[in-house]
């Protein structure tokens, strides 16, 4: 099979001007991957800087409440910056150091990857520019604040649908201009080779830990593992720990938005709005029309609001190794509420999609069975978004009062 392909998916559909840049990146990545010291340096950094290994928390209350399978939660929310995104950016940061580049750029949807990249750039002393759709800038203002405070330049992208895909296009436009001193820290397991494979490698730290932890706590493999899927990096991260265990069912949960029967969702692997396509440098299932124009997507969770999906997951879906489901915005808020109330844990809206499907299925399983939910990020830092989603009256009152003070 051709390099960078997973079944029929993937590839490297790059403009000629980036040919040499990708050749150099592939060499740097392959050398790092072959170097055991590099991985050890990465693990040491993550332990010292980002609270790894993150715990696998037994959700006893939630398990008892649902009365079925034992539920374990992999706590990627406890990473520095509050999400699994840190794993990828710190790994790529080490690679950038090796390549001798001085500037990093990144796209961001929800802002998590942008904050993580800005954090990494501050730590390693790189210049940093983050491209973010104008619509996301408006709905994720606190993350913009932190990126700027961390020293990054945030560029609002006003083209197209003004969301994640447009930010990716704009980051590529920057890269084709300044490839000599700049590395593009792509945030997920998408884009041209080697990004899907490389980002999956850095995120595999989640699965490596989770596998050891579940055996230590449950005494055997879990029956099912749930993860939300936007681009797919947290899902690939945890799934890799169990891919070779055929009896472990892997479940990816996409953004069902206002329902798969509507046009307002971001589900590529379920529903009937996606088709094979080649854009943003790779081949996968894209939400697109008959002409190949990308469609507008919707999700309550900005991090899942994307037209494409990892080529690795497209392949795992096609071969049946990963089962895909979708959770609606409404179900997401219900699952979030239940998890907060029973466990005192606040999953991000993205991660709450995985909780939805697990909560649906756990009661139909036996108490001697175990499932893992990958909690990709924490929700408390997205207080503006979540409070808005809950339409919380006292929060609104607070914002109105504060706005009045600022206006004076």
């Amino acid at each position: 099979m051709k390099k960078g392909y997973f079944g029929q998916w993937g590839g490297a559909f790059i403009p000629e001007v980036l040919y040499q840049t990708f050749t150099d990146l592939n060499v740097a990545y392959e050398q790092a991957r072959a170097d055991k010291d590099f991985w050890q340096e990465y693990v040491d950094l993550m332990e010292n800087y980002s609270c790894r290994p993150t715990p696998l928390t037994f959700a006893e209350n939630l398990s008892n409440r649902l009365g079925g399978a034992r539920i374990y939660i992999k706590r990627e929310d406890l990473n520095h910056t509050g999400a699994h995104k840190a794993n990828n950016v710190m790994g790529q940061g080490l690679l950038v150091k090796r390549m001798g580049k001085k500037r990093v750029i990144a796209e961001t949807g929800a802002g998590q990857h942008g904050v993580a990249t800005a954090t990494m750039a501050a730590r390693f002393g790189f210049d940093c520019t983050i491209y973010m759709g104008e619509e996301d800038v408006a709905r994720q203002r606190p993350n913009v604040f932190w990126m700027e405070k961390l020293g990054a330049t945030v560029v609002p992208v006003t083209d197209g649908s003004k969301t994640l895909k447009d930010a990716i296009n704009e980051a590529f436009r920057d890269w084709v201009t300044r490839m000599d001193d700049t590395h593009y820290v792509l945030g997920t397991v998408c884009g041209p080779h080697p990004f899907p494979e490389m980002v999956a490698w850095f995120q595999s730290i989640i699965g490596i830990e989770a596998r050891k932890q579940i055996v230590a706590q449950h005494g055997q493999m879990p029956d099912r593992v749930y993860a939300c899927v936007g681009g797919g990096s947290n899902a690939m991260g945890i799934f890799q720990g169990f891919l070779d265990e055929a009896e472990v069912e892997l479940v990816g949960v996409e953004a069902g938005g206002k329902g798969l029967e509507t046009t307002e969702h971001a589900s590529r692997m379920v529903g009937d709005r996606a088709a094979p396509g080649i854009a943003q440098g790779y081949k996968t299932m894209f939400l697109q029309d008959d002409d190949g124009q990308m469609l507008d997507t919707h999700s309550i969770a900005a991090g899942l609001d994307y037209v494409g999906v990892s080529p690795i997951l497209a392949d795992l879906g096609e071969t049946g190794r990963v089962r895909f489901e979708a959770a609606t915005d409404k179900e997401v808020l219900e699952a979030l509420t239940l998890t907060m109330r029973t466990e005192g844990i606040i999953p991000a809206l993205e991660s709450s999609h995985a909780f939805v499907q697990a909560i649906k299925e756990a009661p139909k399983m036996r108490p001697d069975q175990a499932i893992i939910i990958n909690m990709s990020g924490r929700g408390d830092k997205d207080i503006f978004t979540i409070a808005h989603a809950f339409d919380d009256p006292s929060w609104k009152e607070f914002i109105i009062d504060r706005a009045k003070q600022y206006a004076e």
Binding site: G11, A12, F13, I14, P15, E16, V17, L18, Y19, Q20, T21, D159, G160, K165, N169, F172, R173, V176, T177, R178, M179, A275, P276, G277, I278, A279, Q280, G281, F286, Q288, D290, D291, G292, Q293, M294
Partner: protein, 259 residues
């Protein structure tokens, strides 16, 4: 006669050829029609007809906006084929090429796209996000239909890479004059001159130079170093600013020295 031979014949008559570009459906097919008529009357050799795409990654702000507005007005790929057929018939002296991104071709069906384009009389394709490594079938089918599959040289290409790419291409080579996206101005300096010398050494195919070429001075500078000047963003800006009637003059002036 294939595109390469046609261009080489034309080069016996004039020092440098011209290729212009427009985004189909921007601002409308009616405007496209008038612009193309003026380009053809003033001796343009090739015209790139860009089929709009929602994610035009290699394009700068002007062409990006043109893509978006064309799509917002409801332009479909089928409309582009019909319009192209009409233009080819009306202006037989011009070589028309489709420029677009690969997803448009892929969704249409690679084989159908090439066959239908050949059937309406198009001469070739420019697809910036399809490198030769991913385009084996595209290259093979284009050759079968006698369609030119235009390949790219860039300032970041090594001599070895240029030779490799040129061996896959046909028609002419599109030499991107600088890093970056379409529309920003390119300095016509010694660096560009050295780059074009490298391009010339790598292939016998005609060399077209684009990205930021916008006036007579730029075109004159390319004479003797390249075979065709590519005018992209400059015409779109001109039509936006001064209307379609200014195009004829602009094209005429590109080909003769201004005092």
């Amino acid at each position: 006669m294939n595109l390469q031979e046609d261009l080489q014949n034309r080069l016996k008559q004039k020092p440098i050829l011209l290729m212009t570009h427009l985004v189909l459906g921007y601002p409308s097919f009616a405007t496209n029609r008038e612009v193309i008529a003026q380009m053809a009357e003033n001796g343009v050799d090739c015209i790139e007809l860009q089929i709009p795409f929602s994610e035009p990654m290699a394009d700068g702000p002007v062409i990006l906006k043109a893509n978006q507005q064309a799509l917002a007005s409801g332009i479909r790929v089928q409309d582009c084929f019909e319009f192209a057929a009409e233009m080819v018939k009306e202006f037989p002296a011009v070589n028309f090429l489709f420029m677009t991104y690969y997803n448009i071709v892929y969704r249409y069906g690679l084989e159908d796209f090439i066959r239908d384009a050949a059937a309406v009389g198009m001469k070739g394709f420019i697809v910036p996000d399809l490198p030769p490594e991913e385009g084996e079938e595209y290259l093979r089918l284009s050759a079968v239909s006698n369609m030119a599959a235009i390949m790219f040289f860039t300032p970041t290409s090594t001599d070895e890479r240029m030779k490799e790419v040129a061996a896959q291409g046909s028609g002419f080579i599109y030499c991107v004059a600088r890093r970056g996206v379409t529309g920003e101005h390119t300095e016509m300096d010694a660096g560009l001159s050295r780059y074009l010398t490298r391009c010339r050494q790598a292939t016998d195919l005609p060399l077209a130079v684009g990205f930021g070429i916008g006036n007579r001075k730029d075109v004159a500078m390319l004479e003797g170093k390249a075979d065709m000047a590519v005018i992209g963003t400059a015409t779109i800006k001109l039509v936006d600013r001064e209307g379609t009637e200014s195009v004829g003059n602009f094209i005429r002036n590109l080909q003769q020295l201004e005092e």
